[in-house]
Amino acid sequence: MIEKNNSSDGPLLKVKGLRKHFPVRRGFLQRIKGWVKAVDGVDVDIFRGRTLGLVGESGCGKSTIGRLILKLLEPNEGKILYKGRDISGMTQNEVKPLRKEMQIIFQDPFGSLNPRMTVGQSIEEGLRTLGVKNHGERKVRVSQLLEMVGIAPEAADFYPHEFSGGQRQRIGIARALSVEPSLIVCDEPVSALDVSIQSQIINLLKELQNRLGLCYLFISHDLNVVGYMSDTVAVMYLGHIMEYAAADELYDHPLHPYTLALLSAVPSPDPDHRRAQPVLMGDVPSALNPPPGCKFQGRCPLVEDRCRRKEIEVYQVSPEHQVRCWKVA
Protein backbone atom coordinates (compact mmCIF):
# COMPACT_ATOMS: atom_id res chain seq x y z
CA MET A 1 0.00 0.00 0.00
CA ILE A 2 2.35 2.74 1.11
CA GLU A 3 5.53 2.96 -0.91
CA LYS A 4 8.79 3.03 0.93
CA ASN A 5 10.45 6.39 0.32
CA ASN A 6 13.71 6.10 -1.51
CA SER A 7 16.36 7.65 0.68
CA SER A 8 17.67 10.45 -1.47
CA ASP A 9 20.30 12.71 0.04
CA GLY A 10 18.76 16.02 1.10
CA PRO A 11 16.76 16.35 4.26
CA LEU A 12 13.03 15.81 3.94
CA LEU A 13 12.52 18.72 6.27
CA LYS A 14 14.87 21.58 6.96
CA VAL A 15 14.15 24.12 9.68
CA LYS A 16 16.13 27.37 9.67
CA GLY A 17 16.11 30.19 12.18
CA LEU A 18 12.69 29.24 13.46
CA ARG A 19 11.23 31.62 16.04
CA LYS A 20 7.94 31.67 17.89
CA HIS A 21 7.33 34.24 20.61
CA PHE A 22 4.03 34.30 22.46
CA PRO A 23 2.84 37.60 23.89
CA VAL A 24 1.90 37.59 27.56
CA ARG A 25 -0.97 39.98 28.26
CA ARG A 26 -1.96 41.25 31.65
CA GLY A 27 -4.48 43.54 33.25
CA PHE A 28 -7.68 45.22 32.18
CA LEU A 29 -6.34 46.55 28.90
CA GLN A 30 -4.65 43.26 28.11
CA ARG A 31 -1.43 45.07 27.37
CA ILE A 32 1.54 42.99 26.34
CA LYS A 33 3.65 42.50 29.45
CA GLY A 34 6.35 40.41 27.93
CA TRP A 35 7.18 37.62 25.55
CA VAL A 36 7.54 33.92 26.02
CA LYS A 37 10.36 33.01 23.68
CA ALA A 38 9.13 29.47 23.22
CA VAL A 39 11.22 28.80 20.12
CA ASP A 40 14.06 31.21 19.68
CA GLY A 41 16.09 30.52 16.57
CA VAL A 42 16.11 26.80 15.87
CA ASP A 43 17.90 25.00 13.02
CA VAL A 44 17.39 21.26 12.51
CA ASP A 45 17.23 18.79 9.63
CA ILE A 46 15.14 15.65 9.44
CA PHE A 47 16.09 12.98 6.93
CA ARG A 48 13.98 10.38 5.16
CA GLY A 49 13.55 7.17 7.08
CA ARG A 50 15.28 8.70 10.09
CA THR A 51 14.34 9.90 13.55
CA LEU A 52 15.28 13.20 15.09
CA GLY A 53 14.85 13.09 18.86
CA LEU A 54 13.99 16.28 20.69
CA VAL A 55 14.58 16.30 24.47
CA GLY A 56 14.42 18.87 27.21
CA GLU A 57 12.52 19.82 30.32
CA SER A 58 8.92 20.88 30.51
CA GLY A 59 8.19 24.17 28.77
CA CYS A 60 11.42 24.32 26.75
CA GLY A 61 9.49 24.52 23.47
CA LYS A 62 9.41 20.96 22.12
CA SER A 63 5.70 20.81 21.31
CA THR A 64 5.80 24.31 19.86
CA ILE A 65 8.40 23.17 17.31
CA GLY A 66 6.17 20.22 16.41
CA ARG A 67 3.18 22.48 15.93
CA LEU A 68 5.15 24.97 13.85
CA ILE A 69 6.36 22.23 11.53
CA LEU A 70 2.81 21.00 11.04
CA LYS A 71 1.66 24.57 10.46
CA LEU A 72 -0.75 24.42 13.34
CA LEU A 73 1.05 27.59 14.45
CA GLU A 74 2.59 30.38 12.42
CA PRO A 75 6.22 31.25 13.21
CA ASN A 76 7.38 34.83 13.81
CA GLU A 77 10.47 34.15 11.78
CA GLY A 78 12.32 31.40 10.02
CA LYS A 79 11.98 28.89 7.22
CA ILE A 80 10.49 25.42 7.12
CA LEU A 81 11.64 23.71 3.95
CA TYR A 82 9.68 20.58 3.16
CA LYS A 83 11.20 18.70 0.22
CA GLY A 84 13.03 21.91 -0.54
CA ARG A 85 9.92 24.16 -0.62
CA ASP A 86 9.40 26.76 2.06
CA ILE A 87 6.03 26.09 3.65
CA SER A 88 6.33 28.68 6.39
CA GLY A 89 4.85 31.46 4.27
CA MET A 90 2.16 29.35 2.62
CA THR A 91 -1.51 29.98 3.26
CA GLN A 92 -3.61 27.20 4.76
CA ASN A 93 -5.05 26.62 1.29
CA GLU A 94 -1.66 26.28 -0.34
CA VAL A 95 -0.50 23.93 2.35
CA LYS A 96 -3.55 21.70 2.17
CA PRO A 97 -2.11 19.19 -0.31
CA LEU A 98 0.86 18.75 2.04
CA ARG A 99 -1.31 18.25 5.13
CA LYS A 100 -1.60 14.55 4.65
CA GLU A 101 2.13 14.12 4.26
CA MET A 102 2.74 15.31 7.81
CA GLN A 103 0.89 13.79 10.73
CA ILE A 104 1.05 13.93 14.51
CA ILE A 105 0.65 11.42 17.33
CA PHE A 106 -0.01 12.81 20.79
CA GLN A 107 0.71 11.67 24.31
CA ASP A 108 -2.96 11.28 24.99
CA PRO A 109 -4.58 9.74 21.96
CA PHE A 110 -7.91 10.21 23.70
CA GLY A 111 -7.72 13.93 23.05
CA SER A 112 -7.22 13.39 19.34
CA LEU A 113 -9.87 10.75 18.73
CA ASN A 114 -13.45 11.93 18.50
CA PRO A 115 -15.29 10.19 21.35
CA ARG A 116 -18.55 10.11 19.39
CA MET A 117 -17.08 8.40 16.36
CA THR A 118 -16.24 4.74 16.17
CA VAL A 119 -12.59 3.97 15.65
CA GLY A 120 -13.40 2.92 12.09
CA GLN A 121 -15.10 6.24 11.33
CA SER A 122 -12.13 8.19 12.71
CA ILE A 123 -9.72 6.33 10.48
CA GLU A 124 -12.03 6.58 7.47
CA GLU A 125 -11.97 10.35 7.74
CA GLY A 126 -8.30 10.30 6.88
CA LEU A 127 -8.97 8.05 3.90
CA ARG A 128 -11.61 10.44 2.63
CA THR A 129 -9.15 13.32 2.64
CA LEU A 130 -6.83 11.07 0.66
CA GLY A 131 -9.58 10.85 -1.91
CA VAL A 132 -10.60 7.24 -1.42
CA LYS A 133 -14.21 7.64 -2.53
CA ASN A 134 -15.36 4.04 -2.61
CA HIS A 135 -16.96 3.03 0.69
CA GLY A 136 -16.03 -0.63 0.37
CA GLU A 137 -12.44 0.23 -0.39
CA ARG A 138 -12.28 2.46 2.69
CA LYS A 139 -13.57 -0.38 4.87
CA VAL A 140 -10.88 -2.71 3.59
CA ARG A 141 -8.20 -0.10 4.21
CA VAL A 142 -9.43 0.49 7.77
CA SER A 143 -9.07 -3.23 8.47
CA GLN A 144 -5.59 -3.27 6.96
CA LEU A 145 -4.51 -0.26 9.00
CA LEU A 146 -5.82 -1.71 12.25
CA GLU A 147 -4.06 -4.99 11.57
CA MET A 148 -0.88 -3.13 10.81
CA VAL A 149 -0.88 -1.63 14.32
CA GLY A 150 -1.84 -4.91 15.98
CA ILE A 151 -5.55 -4.37 16.60
CA ALA A 152 -8.24 -6.82 15.60
CA PRO A 153 -10.19 -5.37 12.62
CA GLU A 154 -13.49 -5.94 14.44
CA ALA A 155 -12.43 -3.09 16.72
CA ALA A 156 -13.47 -0.66 13.96
CA ASP A 157 -17.02 -0.67 15.34
CA PHE A 158 -16.04 0.27 18.89
CA TYR A 159 -15.67 3.69 20.49
CA PRO A 160 -12.36 5.08 21.86
CA HIS A 161 -13.35 4.74 25.52
CA GLU A 162 -13.66 1.00 25.08
CA PHE A 163 -9.91 0.64 24.62
CA SER A 164 -6.94 0.69 26.97
CA GLY A 165 -4.31 3.44 26.80
CA GLY A 166 -1.94 1.32 24.73
CA GLN A 167 -4.69 0.28 22.32
CA ARG A 168 -5.79 3.89 21.91
CA GLN A 169 -2.24 4.83 21.08
CA ARG A 170 -2.19 2.12 18.40
CA ILE A 171 -5.43 3.51 17.00
CA GLY A 172 -3.95 7.02 16.98
CA ILE A 173 -1.04 5.62 14.98
CA ALA A 174 -3.38 3.85 12.55
CA ARG A 175 -5.23 7.08 11.99
CA ALA A 176 -2.03 9.00 11.37
CA LEU A 177 -0.93 6.33 8.88
CA SER A 178 -4.26 6.36 7.04
CA VAL A 179 -3.23 9.34 4.92
CA GLU A 180 0.13 7.81 3.97
CA PRO A 181 2.36 10.45 5.54
CA SER A 182 6.10 10.84 5.05
CA LEU A 183 6.71 12.61 8.35
CA ILE A 184 5.14 11.98 11.74
CA VAL A 185 5.62 14.28 14.70
CA CYS A 186 5.46 11.97 17.72
CA ASP A 187 4.80 14.22 20.73
CA GLU A 188 5.48 12.15 23.87
CA PRO A 189 3.74 9.14 22.31
CA VAL A 190 4.68 6.66 25.04
CA SER A 191 4.96 8.90 28.09
CA ALA A 192 1.58 7.96 29.53
CA LEU A 193 2.03 4.22 28.99
CA ASP A 194 3.23 1.50 31.33
CA VAL A 195 6.64 -0.04 30.68
CA SER A 196 5.28 -3.25 29.19
CA ILE A 197 2.97 -1.36 26.83
CA GLN A 198 5.56 1.31 26.09
CA SER A 199 7.93 -1.24 24.59
CA GLN A 200 5.14 -2.62 22.38
CA ILE A 201 4.43 0.83 20.94
CA ILE A 202 8.12 1.66 20.52
CA ASN A 203 8.59 -1.56 18.56
CA LEU A 204 5.55 -0.79 16.46
CA LEU A 205 6.83 2.70 15.59
CA LYS A 206 10.24 1.31 14.64
CA GLU A 207 8.78 -1.48 12.54
CA LEU A 208 6.52 0.94 10.66
CA GLN A 209 9.45 3.25 10.07
CA ASN A 210 11.51 0.44 8.56
CA ARG A 211 8.65 -0.82 6.47
CA LEU A 212 7.34 2.51 5.19
CA GLY A 213 10.44 4.68 5.27
CA LEU A 214 8.77 7.09 7.68
CA CYS A 215 10.56 10.03 9.12
CA TYR A 216 9.93 10.92 12.78
CA LEU A 217 10.33 13.99 14.89
CA PHE A 218 10.30 12.19 18.23
CA ILE A 219 9.58 14.47 21.18
CA SER A 220 10.13 13.18 24.68
CA HIS A 221 11.55 14.10 28.04
CA ASP A 222 12.75 10.51 28.52
CA LEU A 223 16.39 10.23 27.49
CA ASN A 224 16.30 6.45 27.46
CA VAL A 225 13.40 6.35 25.04
CA VAL A 226 14.94 9.04 22.84
CA GLY A 227 18.28 7.23 22.85
CA TYR A 228 16.59 4.07 21.64
CA MET A 229 14.50 5.75 18.95
CA SER A 230 16.71 8.43 17.46
CA ASP A 231 19.47 8.69 14.89
CA THR A 232 20.11 12.29 15.79
CA VAL A 233 19.26 14.10 19.01
CA ALA A 234 18.64 17.78 19.73
CA VAL A 235 18.75 18.92 23.36
CA MET A 236 16.56 21.93 23.95
CA TYR A 237 16.57 24.53 26.72
CA LEU A 238 14.31 27.58 26.84
CA GLY A 239 13.76 27.79 23.12
CA HIS A 240 17.35 27.10 22.07
CA ILE A 241 18.93 23.93 20.79
CA MET A 242 21.89 23.58 23.16
CA GLU A 243 23.43 20.49 21.62
CA TYR A 244 22.74 18.67 18.39
CA ALA A 245 24.54 15.49 17.44
CA ALA A 246 24.33 11.94 16.17
CA ALA A 247 22.73 9.94 18.98
CA ASP A 248 25.78 7.84 19.88
CA GLU A 249 28.02 10.87 19.78
CA LEU A 250 25.69 12.77 22.10
CA TYR A 251 25.41 9.97 24.64
CA ASP A 252 29.11 9.02 24.51
CA HIS A 253 30.60 12.49 24.31
CA PRO A 254 28.12 15.01 25.65
CA LEU A 255 29.63 18.47 25.76
CA HIS A 256 27.07 21.01 26.86
CA PRO A 257 26.79 21.42 30.66
CA TYR A 258 23.02 21.08 30.32
CA THR A 259 23.24 17.80 28.41
CA LEU A 260 25.62 16.49 31.05
CA ALA A 261 23.23 17.49 33.79
CA LEU A 262 20.26 15.89 32.05
CA LEU A 263 22.09 12.64 31.40
CA SER A 264 23.35 12.39 34.95
CA ALA A 265 19.86 13.00 36.35
CA VAL A 266 18.39 9.94 34.64
CA PRO A 267 18.23 7.22 37.25
CA SER A 268 19.97 4.09 36.01
CA PRO A 269 18.07 0.83 36.40
CA ASP A 270 21.12 -0.73 38.00
CA PRO A 271 21.48 -0.50 41.78
CA ASP A 272 25.27 -0.79 41.42
CA HIS A 273 25.33 2.51 39.54
CA ARG A 274 23.64 4.40 42.25
CA ARG A 275 25.29 7.72 42.68
CA ALA A 276 24.75 10.75 44.74
CA GLN A 277 24.16 12.54 41.48
CA PRO A 278 25.83 15.82 40.76
CA VAL A 279 22.41 17.37 40.71
CA LEU A 280 21.52 20.38 38.67
CA MET A 281 20.29 22.94 41.14
CA GLY A 282 17.41 25.30 40.70
CA ASP A 283 14.10 25.05 38.92
CA VAL A 284 13.31 24.92 35.26
CA PRO A 285 13.12 28.66 34.57
CA SER A 286 10.31 30.28 32.66
CA ALA A 287 10.77 31.27 29.05
CA LEU A 288 9.23 34.64 29.87
CA ASN A 289 11.67 37.51 29.27
CA PRO A 290 14.88 35.45 29.49
CA PRO A 291 18.12 37.32 30.31
CA PRO A 292 20.58 38.25 27.57
CA GLY A 293 23.37 35.80 26.89
CA CYS A 294 23.29 32.06 27.47
CA LYS A 295 19.86 30.84 28.49
CA PHE A 296 21.39 28.25 30.78
CA GLN A 297 23.44 30.79 32.78
CA GLY A 298 21.15 30.66 35.83
CA ARG A 299 21.86 26.99 36.47
CA CYS A 300 25.22 26.45 34.80
CA PRO A 301 28.09 25.30 37.03
CA LEU A 302 30.61 26.77 34.54
CA VAL A 303 29.03 30.18 34.09
CA GLU A 304 31.32 33.19 33.63
CA ASP A 305 30.86 36.86 32.87
CA ARG A 306 31.16 36.34 29.16
CA CYS A 307 28.11 34.03 29.24
CA ARG A 308 25.94 36.90 30.41
CA ARG A 309 27.16 39.53 28.01
CA LYS A 310 26.05 38.41 24.60
CA GLU A 311 24.15 35.76 22.72
CA ILE A 312 26.07 32.49 22.56
CA GLU A 313 26.61 31.17 19.05
CA VAL A 314 26.51 27.61 17.84
CA TYR A 315 29.87 25.88 17.48
CA GLN A 316 30.37 23.03 15.04
CA VAL A 317 32.79 20.78 16.92
CA SER A 318 32.73 17.96 14.38
CA PRO A 319 30.67 17.18 11.28
CA GLU A 320 28.06 15.46 13.41
CA HIS A 321 28.16 17.59 16.50
CA GLN A 322 27.06 21.14 17.36
CA VAL A 323 27.05 22.81 20.73
CA ARG A 324 25.86 26.23 21.92
CA CYS A 325 28.49 26.95 24.58
CA TRP A 326 31.71 28.79 24.00
CA LYS A 327 33.44 27.20 26.97
CA VAL A 328 33.23 23.59 25.97
CA ALA A 329 33.49 24.07 22.22
Partner: protein, 321 residues
Protein backbone atom coordinates in the same frame (compact mmCIF):
# COMPACT_ATOMS: atom_id res chain seq x y z
CA UNK B 1 8.36 -4.40 62.54
CA UNK B 2 7.40 -0.83 61.80
CA UNK B 3 4.67 -1.48 59.24
CA UNK B 4 3.47 -4.81 58.00
CA UNK B 5 0.41 -5.58 55.93
CA UNK B 6 -0.62 -9.20 55.93
CA UNK B 7 -2.73 -11.04 53.40
CA UNK B 8 -4.72 -7.91 52.63
CA UNK B 9 -7.76 -8.38 50.42
CA UNK B 10 -9.62 -5.35 49.09
CA UNK B 11 -12.41 -5.67 46.55
CA UNK B 12 -14.46 -3.03 44.75
CA UNK B 13 -18.13 -3.66 44.18
CA UNK B 14 -19.71 -1.65 41.39
CA UNK B 15 -22.06 -2.21 38.46
CA UNK B 16 -22.66 -5.74 39.69
CA UNK B 17 -18.98 -6.54 39.18
CA UNK B 18 -16.34 -7.40 41.72
CA UNK B 19 -12.87 -5.96 41.10
CA UNK B 20 -10.31 -7.81 43.20
CA UNK B 21 -7.89 -4.90 43.58
CA UNK B 22 -5.82 -6.57 46.33
CA UNK B 23 -5.87 -10.32 46.32
CA UNK B 24 -3.92 -11.22 49.44
CA UNK B 25 -1.05 -8.74 49.54
CA UNK B 26 1.65 -8.81 52.21
CA UNK B 27 4.54 -6.40 52.53
CA UNK B 28 6.50 -4.78 55.29
CA UNK B 29 8.80 -1.86 56.01
CA UNK B 30 11.34 -2.08 58.80
CA UNK B 31 12.73 0.76 60.85
CA UNK B 32 14.94 3.07 58.81
CA UNK B 33 14.38 1.13 55.62
CA UNK B 34 13.37 2.36 52.15
CA UNK B 35 10.94 -0.03 50.55
CA UNK B 36 9.75 0.39 46.99
CA UNK B 37 6.47 -0.89 45.69
CA UNK B 38 6.63 -1.11 41.91
CA UNK B 39 4.11 -2.22 39.33
CA UNK B 40 2.03 -1.09 36.40
CA UNK B 41 -1.03 1.08 36.46
CA UNK B 42 -3.97 -0.50 38.25
CA UNK B 43 -2.02 -3.23 40.05
CA UNK B 44 -3.18 -1.99 43.45
CA UNK B 45 -0.35 0.16 44.79
CA UNK B 46 -2.47 3.14 45.79
CA UNK B 47 -5.32 1.01 47.10
CA UNK B 48 -2.91 -0.68 49.50
CA UNK B 49 -1.83 2.71 50.83
CA UNK B 50 -5.37 4.01 51.16
CA UNK B 51 -6.17 0.90 53.16
CA UNK B 52 -3.19 1.39 55.48
CA UNK B 53 -4.29 4.97 56.17
CA UNK B 54 -7.95 3.94 56.40
CA UNK B 55 -9.01 6.40 53.73
CA UNK B 56 -10.23 3.81 51.23
CA UNK B 57 -13.55 4.91 49.74
CA UNK B 58 -16.04 2.46 51.26
CA UNK B 59 -18.24 1.78 49.32
CA UNK B 60 -17.36 0.91 46.59
CA UNK B 61 -14.26 -0.56 48.28
CA UNK B 62 -14.46 -3.24 50.92
CA UNK B 63 -11.73 -4.81 53.04
CA UNK B 64 -12.35 -8.53 52.72
CA UNK B 65 -9.56 -9.73 54.97
CA UNK B 66 -6.06 -9.27 56.28
CA UNK B 67 -4.29 -7.03 58.74
CA UNK B 68 -2.39 -3.75 58.77
CA UNK B 69 0.07 -3.95 61.63
CA UNK B 70 1.77 -0.74 62.72
CA UNK B 71 4.23 -1.41 65.53
CA UNK B 72 2.24 -4.53 66.27
CA UNK B 73 -1.16 -2.85 66.41
CA UNK B 74 -3.80 -3.70 63.77
CA UNK B 75 -4.91 -0.37 62.32
CA UNK B 76 -8.01 -1.98 60.88
CA UNK B 77 -9.32 -2.36 64.47
CA UNK B 78 -9.02 1.34 65.33
CA UNK B 79 -11.85 3.85 65.28
CA UNK B 80 -11.55 7.13 63.37
CA UNK B 81 -10.53 9.11 66.44
CA UNK B 82 -7.70 6.75 67.24
CA UNK B 83 -6.70 6.68 63.59
CA UNK B 84 -6.39 10.48 63.48
CA UNK B 85 -3.61 10.26 66.06
CA UNK B 86 -1.64 8.09 63.67
CA UNK B 87 -2.51 9.40 60.21
CA UNK B 88 -0.39 12.40 59.27
CA UNK B 89 1.40 12.19 62.57
CA UNK B 90 3.13 8.84 62.96
CA UNK B 91 2.46 7.80 59.36
CA UNK B 92 2.84 10.67 56.91
CA UNK B 93 1.76 10.73 53.31
CA UNK B 94 2.97 12.41 50.11
CA UNK B 95 0.96 12.18 46.91
CA UNK B 96 1.83 12.57 43.24
CA UNK B 97 0.09 15.86 42.63
CA UNK B 98 0.81 18.27 45.46
CA UNK B 99 -1.76 20.75 44.14
CA UNK B 100 -4.58 18.43 45.18
CA UNK B 101 -3.23 18.04 48.72
CA UNK B 102 -2.19 21.63 49.30
CA UNK B 103 -5.01 24.03 50.02
CA UNK B 104 -4.89 26.73 47.31
CA UNK B 105 -6.33 29.51 49.51
CA UNK B 106 -3.85 29.20 52.39
CA UNK B 107 -0.23 30.31 52.44
CA UNK B 108 2.62 27.86 52.78
CA UNK B 109 3.15 29.06 56.36
CA UNK B 110 -0.51 28.48 57.30
CA UNK B 111 -0.41 24.95 56.00
CA UNK B 112 2.83 23.80 57.55
CA UNK B 113 2.11 25.51 60.88
CA UNK B 114 -1.26 23.88 60.97
CA UNK B 115 0.37 20.49 60.45
CA UNK B 116 2.62 21.27 63.42
CA UNK B 117 -0.09 22.73 65.68
CA UNK B 118 -2.62 19.98 65.09
CA UNK B 119 -0.30 17.48 66.65
CA UNK B 120 1.77 19.46 69.12
CA UNK B 121 1.30 22.08 71.77
CA UNK B 122 3.78 24.76 70.80
CA UNK B 123 3.25 28.51 70.59
CA UNK B 124 2.89 30.25 67.28
CA UNK B 125 6.40 31.73 67.28
CA UNK B 126 7.96 28.33 67.84
CA UNK B 127 5.74 26.83 65.14
CA UNK B 128 6.95 29.53 62.80
CA UNK B 129 10.60 28.82 63.53
CA UNK B 130 9.99 25.11 63.02
CA UNK B 131 8.28 25.88 59.75
CA UNK B 132 11.26 27.89 58.48
CA UNK B 133 13.65 25.15 59.56
CA UNK B 134 11.57 22.50 57.75
CA UNK B 135 11.53 24.53 54.54
CA UNK B 136 15.31 24.84 54.86
CA UNK B 137 15.63 21.10 55.40
CA UNK B 138 13.75 20.36 52.21
CA UNK B 139 15.88 22.81 50.25
CA UNK B 140 13.56 25.75 49.65
CA UNK B 141 15.77 28.79 49.06
CA UNK B 142 15.17 31.85 51.30
CA UNK B 143 12.31 30.18 53.20
CA UNK B 144 11.41 33.35 55.18
CA UNK B 145 10.30 34.93 51.93
CA UNK B 146 8.36 31.89 50.78
CA UNK B 147 6.19 31.70 53.92
CA UNK B 148 3.63 34.16 52.55
CA UNK B 149 3.40 32.45 49.14
CA UNK B 150 0.37 30.54 47.97
CA UNK B 151 0.81 27.10 46.42
CA UNK B 152 0.19 28.31 42.86
CA UNK B 153 3.12 30.71 43.15
CA UNK B 154 5.55 27.82 43.50
CA UNK B 155 6.94 25.56 40.79
CA UNK B 156 5.97 21.90 40.72
CA UNK B 157 9.24 20.86 42.31
CA UNK B 158 8.92 23.42 45.09
CA UNK B 159 5.35 22.36 45.79
CA UNK B 160 6.54 18.79 46.19
CA UNK B 161 9.22 20.04 48.61
CA UNK B 162 6.54 21.84 50.62
CA UNK B 163 4.52 18.61 50.72
CA UNK B 164 7.56 16.81 52.04
CA UNK B 165 8.07 19.54 54.67
CA UNK B 166 4.45 19.10 55.75
CA UNK B 167 4.87 15.36 55.92
CA UNK B 168 7.95 15.76 58.10
CA UNK B 169 6.35 18.41 60.33
CA UNK B 170 5.46 15.99 63.11
CA UNK B 171 8.43 13.66 62.92
CA UNK B 172 6.64 10.65 61.46
CA UNK B 173 8.02 7.16 61.98
CA UNK B 174 7.25 6.30 58.40
CA UNK B 175 6.57 8.35 55.28
CA UNK B 176 4.51 6.86 52.49
CA UNK B 177 5.19 8.56 49.16
CA UNK B 178 2.92 7.62 46.24
CA UNK B 179 4.61 8.53 42.93
CA UNK B 180 6.02 11.78 44.37
CA UNK B 181 8.21 12.57 41.36
CA UNK B 182 6.21 11.17 38.47
CA UNK B 183 4.96 14.60 37.39
CA UNK B 184 8.37 16.27 37.67
CA UNK B 185 11.23 16.80 35.22
CA UNK B 186 14.23 14.46 35.60
CA UNK B 187 16.52 17.12 36.98
CA UNK B 188 13.94 18.03 39.61
CA UNK B 189 13.27 14.35 40.28
CA UNK B 190 16.98 13.84 40.94
CA UNK B 191 16.90 16.70 43.47
CA UNK B 192 13.90 15.22 45.28
CA UNK B 193 15.42 11.73 45.35
CA UNK B 194 18.60 13.19 46.84
CA UNK B 195 16.49 15.01 49.38
CA UNK B 196 14.75 11.80 50.43
CA UNK B 197 18.12 10.09 50.84
CA UNK B 198 19.49 12.90 52.99
CA UNK B 199 16.39 13.16 55.15
CA UNK B 200 16.34 9.45 55.76
CA UNK B 201 19.92 9.47 56.98
CA UNK B 202 19.25 12.37 59.29
CA UNK B 203 15.96 11.19 60.70
CA UNK B 204 16.10 7.40 60.71
CA UNK B 205 12.60 7.19 59.38
CA UNK B 206 11.20 4.45 57.17
CA UNK B 207 10.10 5.25 53.66
CA UNK B 208 7.52 3.36 51.63
CA UNK B 209 8.02 4.65 48.11
CA UNK B 210 5.59 3.83 45.32
CA UNK B 211 6.57 4.17 41.70
CA UNK B 212 6.34 2.50 38.33
CA UNK B 213 9.81 3.71 37.34
CA UNK B 214 12.42 0.97 37.69
CA UNK B 215 15.24 3.50 37.45
CA UNK B 216 13.95 5.26 40.54
CA UNK B 217 13.60 1.95 42.36
CA UNK B 218 17.19 0.97 41.60
CA UNK B 219 18.28 4.35 42.91
CA UNK B 220 16.67 4.52 46.31
CA UNK B 221 15.30 1.16 47.43
CA UNK B 222 16.76 -1.11 50.06
CA UNK B 223 14.11 -3.69 49.33
CA UNK B 224 11.56 -4.03 46.54
CA UNK B 225 8.10 -5.52 46.07
CA UNK B 226 6.98 -6.10 42.49
CA UNK B 227 3.21 -6.11 42.20
CA UNK B 228 1.07 -7.51 39.43
CA UNK B 229 -2.72 -7.54 39.26
CA UNK B 230 -3.31 -7.31 42.99
CA UNK B 231 -0.64 -9.75 44.15
CA UNK B 232 3.04 -9.54 45.03
CA UNK B 233 4.89 -11.29 42.21
CA UNK B 234 8.39 -10.97 43.62
CA UNK B 235 10.18 -9.39 46.56
CA UNK B 236 13.72 -9.04 47.74
CA UNK B 237 16.72 -6.83 48.21
CA UNK B 238 17.23 -4.36 45.41
CA UNK B 239 20.36 -6.08 44.08
CA UNK B 240 18.60 -9.45 43.93
CA UNK B 241 15.62 -8.07 42.08
CA UNK B 242 17.69 -6.23 39.47
CA UNK B 243 20.54 -8.70 39.02
CA UNK B 244 18.73 -11.99 39.51
CA UNK B 245 15.03 -11.47 38.86
CA UNK B 246 13.21 -14.77 39.40
CA UNK B 247 9.72 -13.95 38.21
CA UNK B 248 8.93 -13.89 34.47
CA UNK B 249 7.09 -10.60 34.96
CA UNK B 250 10.05 -8.88 36.65
CA UNK B 251 12.36 -10.34 34.02
CA UNK B 252 10.06 -9.06 31.27
CA UNK B 253 9.83 -5.56 32.76
CA UNK B 254 13.58 -5.20 33.08
CA UNK B 255 14.16 -6.50 29.57
CA UNK B 256 11.62 -4.08 28.08
CA UNK B 257 13.41 -0.97 29.25
CA UNK B 258 14.57 1.00 26.24
CA UNK B 259 17.98 2.62 26.11
CA UNK B 260 20.29 3.78 23.42
CA UNK B 261 22.52 0.69 23.59
CA UNK B 262 19.58 -1.42 22.41
CA UNK B 263 18.89 0.80 19.39
CA UNK B 264 18.56 -1.17 16.18
CA UNK B 265 17.42 -4.28 18.01
CA UNK B 266 13.79 -5.10 18.64
CA UNK B 267 12.95 -4.35 22.24
CA UNK B 268 11.80 -7.20 24.37
CA UNK B 269 8.14 -6.73 25.09
CA UNK B 270 5.54 -8.40 27.23
CA UNK B 271 2.59 -9.23 24.98
CA UNK B 272 -0.98 -8.36 25.88
CA UNK B 273 -2.17 -6.01 28.58
CA UNK B 274 -2.65 -5.89 32.33
CA UNK B 275 -5.91 -7.66 33.17
CA UNK B 276 -8.94 -5.75 34.34
CA UNK B 277 -9.29 -6.57 38.06
CA UNK B 278 -12.94 -7.50 37.49
CA UNK B 279 -11.93 -10.17 34.98
CA UNK B 280 -8.73 -11.62 36.29
CA UNK B 281 -7.56 -14.86 34.74
CA UNK B 282 -7.76 -18.09 36.72
CA UNK B 283 -4.58 -19.55 38.18
CA UNK B 284 -1.52 -17.34 37.88
CA UNK B 285 -2.75 -13.84 37.02
CA UNK B 286 0.25 -13.40 34.70
CA UNK B 287 -0.30 -16.59 32.70
CA UNK B 288 -1.88 -15.08 29.54
CA UNK B 289 1.27 -12.97 29.04
CA UNK B 290 3.90 -15.34 30.38
CA UNK B 291 6.57 -16.86 28.13
CA UNK B 292 7.14 -19.73 30.59
CA UNK B 293 3.52 -20.72 31.11
CA UNK B 294 2.69 -24.41 31.56
CA UNK B 295 -0.62 -26.22 32.01
CA UNK B 296 -0.94 -25.93 35.78
CA UNK B 297 -0.38 -22.14 35.64
CA UNK B 298 -3.82 -21.81 34.07
CA UNK B 299 -5.64 -23.47 36.96
CA UNK B 300 -3.55 -23.19 40.09
CA UNK B 301 -2.74 -19.99 41.95
CA UNK B 302 1.07 -20.05 42.38
CA UNK B 303 2.74 -20.22 45.79
CA UNK B 304 5.62 -17.97 46.88
CA UNK B 305 8.96 -19.71 46.40
CA UNK B 306 11.86 -18.88 48.69
CA UNK B 307 15.28 -18.20 47.12
CA UNK B 308 16.86 -17.32 50.47
CA UNK B 309 18.04 -13.98 51.81
CA UNK B 310 14.52 -12.59 51.74
CA UNK B 311 14.18 -13.12 48.00
CA UNK B 312 10.77 -14.60 47.18
CA UNK B 313 9.07 -15.15 43.84
CA UNK B 314 5.57 -16.33 43.05
CA UNK B 315 6.54 -18.65 40.22
CA UNK B 316 6.98 -22.35 40.98
CA UNK B 317 7.72 -23.09 37.34
CA UNK B 318 11.02 -21.20 37.28
CA UNK B 319 11.78 -22.35 40.82
CA UNK B 320 11.62 -26.02 39.91
CA UNK B 321 13.51 -25.60 36.68
Amino acid sequence: MMLSIQDLKVYFFSDGRVARALDGVSYEARKGETVCLVGESGCGKTVSVLTILRILPQPPGRIMGGKVLFNGQNLLDLNEEEMQKIRGRRIAMIFQEPMTSLNPVFTIEDQIEEAILVHEKVDIEEARQRCIQLLKDVGIPSPEERLRDYPHQLSGGQRQRVMIAMALACNPEIVIADEPTTALDVTIQAQILNLFRELKQKREMSLLYITHDLGVVANIADRVYVMYAGVIAEQGEVAHIFHHPRHPYTQGLLASLPNRVKRGKTLHSIPGTVPNPAYKPEGCPFHPRCPDVIGTCRVQFPEMCDYGGGHLSRCPVLYER
